[in-house]
Symmetry: C2
Subunit: 141 residues, 2 copies
């Protein structure tokens, strides 16, 4: 019941980029260094975030990454979903083949559904912008 390193690293990178002055691109290795993330691993993560439209990139010399999504629309769920696939807190309980309608199983399914919904809503409600209140234009260095 935890977020993977991939997810953690990706979030850290997104937060880093969100705290940079707009217009600036940051090197993958720079982010890795600043956030304490293995370089090659992070490169993979950034590429995925880019392919999902959360980050943008500039190739070639003087290239780098920048935040493309809007921080007040970009939620934790978006980032995690981009990196870890669909957010499914639970898998459905194994269906048996008994034709009888099963009260207990229906109850369990209801409960799991409720958990899934509430958990997803929580992640969706936490926006990246939420954590960058007081430092507009104050870069991380």
């Amino acid at each position: 019941m935890r977020i993977s390193r991939r997810g953690e690293y990706g979030l850290a990178a997104v937060i880093y980029l969100a705290s940079q002055p707009s217009g600036k691109v940051s090197l993958s290795d720079e982010i890795a260094g600043r956030c304490g993330i293995p370089k090659t691993f992070l490169a993979q993560i950034l590429a995925r975030l880019r392919s999902k439209g959360i980050l943008g990139s500039v190739r070639g010399k003087r290239g780098g990454y920048y935040l493309k999504a809007e921080p007040n629309r970009l939620s934790l769920a978006d980032v995690l979903e981009a990196l870890e696939g669909p957010i499914t807190l639970i898998r459905s309980i194994r269906d048996d083949h008994s034709a009888e309608p099963d009260f207990v199983k229906a109850t369990v399914k209801d409960f799991f559904g409720k958990l899934q919904t509430r958990g997803y809503e929580l992640l969706k409600s936490m926006k990246i912008a939420e954590i960058l209140p007081a430092q507009q234009g104050k870069p991380a260095e």
Copy 2:
């Protein structure tokens, strides 16, 4: 980012037991059959829930398990914590040894802390009793 089978199965078993008439003990194999859980695996899970005080057991012939905790005090967090260990949605970001106080890392930590807190509160707020409203004394068979 999901709950393990152990957690799912454990929850299903707890819900099953919560829906049984009070005073009754249920066989491990019976629960397994009704919930579609591998018997030996469930046995392990039930034992752990017992050792944490969530379930009680009767040994020997005509033994079995029963719900010991109060359904309106027993939360999803309690059950998951018993089965999967402490609920830590995130691990702390790797600390580097740079003496400089690091704005980005502090921000990331804050965010992760907030996530951890909110997630835990959510799990803690969902009680087992919450899902058993309308079927007092209506056992699952």
